[in-house]
């Protein structure tokens, strides 16, 4: 026994809630933390407040309400839940540094489950830093957590499941001045079609049926939808005022008050990177994924990764991954027989696979355009330090090898977001310019603190849970 907590779970989305609940139910001393003040992650955000809200529940739909029983299970499991708690460092020996309410604490963990989920893929287009331009995920978060919906003229531009889902939710919520710019590239369809038969197996058909239903609903509602849109430029000085785009070889332009952008989601890799976990570039999802075994164990001992943080699988498969990681930990703790572990693993793995049946088809169909992955020269890539794609290409042309050297020359990735919003694009640009793979190009070295912690907060620390169990 060398630690107070058998497991520390980071994140209370579907993967984290399932992991923490399974661990605590199995008798493991479990701490689960989330930066947000409420459980649910982004997909089930504010689920405990909203579960009785019929009006909002009707808009958000049944898949959102699925989070309520999971949250209830977590609450009943006996896991210690700490919210509004930032994990800003994890030591080699799995000491987990947290900050809550201005005070810092280190918890020792025999195992860590990183369930920090996904973030939206950056959508660097000209004008994307203007106030009034947000991700579609951000707009949906405002709806879930504050019942807010854009007023005035709203343009949603992007592709993928969340694009259609939120468009439909806007219609349900009574947004009247809505225009959709679908950026999906029709040239991916021939490559996606061979993946369709498999997509209809398992639970896959449900995902496709939901998508078809969303599209039909949007058509019925008479929402203006432009397909095959590219070349998006946002205009305005103090606030977004218009959007220009290319459509069927011509150009279009719209006046607008709010713009939502979305080109899919990618694993939020800050924490796994900071631990030095091995990552591999996954071409099908155009993103880096931490390398894991079948249980979700990363390349670092005792560090598990579950859910979208390990590769985009969606909410339901994420919950199964959380459970699978918990089974491995319970067995290692001697709280679950090998036989029982194998039996439950088989059921969880089967259910997970069923939810992933349509994923390759969806990933292929909604592969982002090159203009999103490697934007044009004038486009700002690093929002914090205002670094344009041109400057990165110039460095690559001068023989600068990659993202970490670019940091030193341009300060890209050194602003407050610590490279979260520019890192994926910087790697893509360097890989494209040098002809190297993204794996060979690499990614920013991420170091703690993962978010700013003040000297005052550190000076006040000294509480340590775990040294005296």
């Amino acid at each position: 026994m060398n630690g107070r907590w058998d497991a520390v779970v980071i994140g209370t989305g579907p993967a984290g809630m399932a992991a923490a609940a399974t661990l605590a139910e199995g008798g493991a001393r479990t701490l689960v933390v989330d930066e947000q003040p409420e459980v649910g992650g982004q997909i089930y955000r504010a689920i405990e407040r909203n579960r009785g809200n019929d009006a909002l529940g009707r808009i958000l739909g049944a898949d959102y309400l699925r989070g309520a029983p999971l949250a209830g299970r977590l609450r009943a499991s006996g896991a210690e839940i700490r919210l509004a708690t930032l994990v800003w460092r994890i030591d080699e020996d799995r000491g987990v540094w947290m900050r809550r309410d201005g005070s810092v604490e280190r918890a020792e963990a025999r195992n860590v489950v990183i369930a920090t989920g996904a973030m939206e893929r950056p959508v660097p287009v000209p004008g994307w830093t203007l106030p009034g331009v947000m991700t579609i995920g951000a707009l949906q978060i405002l709806l879930k957590s504050s019942g807010l919906i854009p007023s005035g003229r709203l343009v949603l531009a992007g592709s993928g499941p969340l694009f259609y889902l939120f468009s439909r939710q806007c219609v349900e919520a009574g947004v009247s001045e809505l225009t959709l710019l679908d950026t999906a590239d029709g040239r991916h369809l021939p490559g996606a079609l061979p993946l369709l038969p498999k997509a209809l197996t398992g639970q896959g058909w449900r995902y496709l049926l939901k998508g078809a239903g969303l599209l039909a609903g949007l058509r019925r509602a008479g929402v203006t939808l432009y397909r095959g849109v590219s070349g998006i430029t946002l205009e305005g000085s103090e606030h977004v005022a218009g959007i220009r785009f290319t459509h069927r070889g011509g150009t279009g332009s719209l006046a607008c008050d709010t713009v939502g952008l979305h080109e899919g989601v990618i694993p939020h890799q800050q924490m796994t990177r900071s631990l030095g976990c091995v990552h591999d570039y996954e071409p099908a999802q155009q993103s880096f994924h931490p390398r894991r075994d079948a249980w979700g164990l990363s390349s670092r001992p005792g560090i598990f990764v579950a859910g979208d943080a390990g590769g985009i699988v969606g909410a339901q498969a994420s919950a199964h991954e959380g459970t699978i990681a918990a089974l491995a930990i319970l067995h290692a703790l001697g709280r679950l027989s090998q036989e029982e572990r194998e039996r439950r693993f088989a059921a969880e793995a089967r259910a997970r696979r069923a939810h992933l049946a349509a994923r390759p088809f969806i990933d292929r169909l909604y592969t982002p355009r090159d203009e999103v992955l490697v934007p044009a020269d004038a486009t700002m890539i690093c929002r914090c330090e205002t670094v344009a794609a041109r400057e990165l290409r110039r460095l690559a042309g001068h023989g600068v090898p990659g993202p970490n050297q670019a940091k030193a020359f341009l300060r890209c990735g050194m602003g407050p977001c610590q490279g979260r919003l520019c890192g994926p694009t910087v790697t893509s640009i360097f890989a494209r310019e040098t002809g190297d793979t993204p794996d060979a190009t690499g990614y920013y070295r991420i170091r703690s603190p993962l978010k700013p912690v003040t000297v005052g907060e550190l000076a006040g620390s000294g509480k340590e849970t775990g040294s005296h169990p």
Partner: protein, 101 residues
């Protein structure tokens, strides 16, 4: 610009942004409260002073930085709104010392 889907739900409290009173509802974080009040400019970029505002609403992008009760560079989207909070625009980079509230 945003509106509430439920017009009837009551106010939970009031904070101020640049001296202006801003009412908020239960569950609002500071960013949501400000957006609901029609505030579009949260901070000025330390590099070129361009206006910035929330982009991700989930703690990733750091575009929603504001000064709250004298503490600079606070992520408005992660901090629950509380009555009496004194909020100011984050102008450029933070100072070494926090301002007195």
């Amino acid at each position: 610009m945003f509106r509430r889907i439920e017009a009837s739900a009551g106010t939970a409290g009031t904070l101020t942004f640049e001296e202006r009173p801003v009412a908020f509802r239960a569950g609002d974080n500071v960013a949501a409260a400000l957006l609901a009040a029609g505030i579009a400019r949260f901070r000025d970029s330390p590099v070129d002073a361009a206006p910035r505002a929330p982009y991700c609403m989930m703690g990733v992008c750091f575009e929603c930085l504001v000064e709250i009760d004298g503490r600079q560079n606070q992520q408005a989207c992660l901090i629950p709104a509380r009555t009496g909070m004194v909020i100011r625009r984050q102008r450029g980079a933070r100072d070494l010392a926090d301002r007195a509230p």
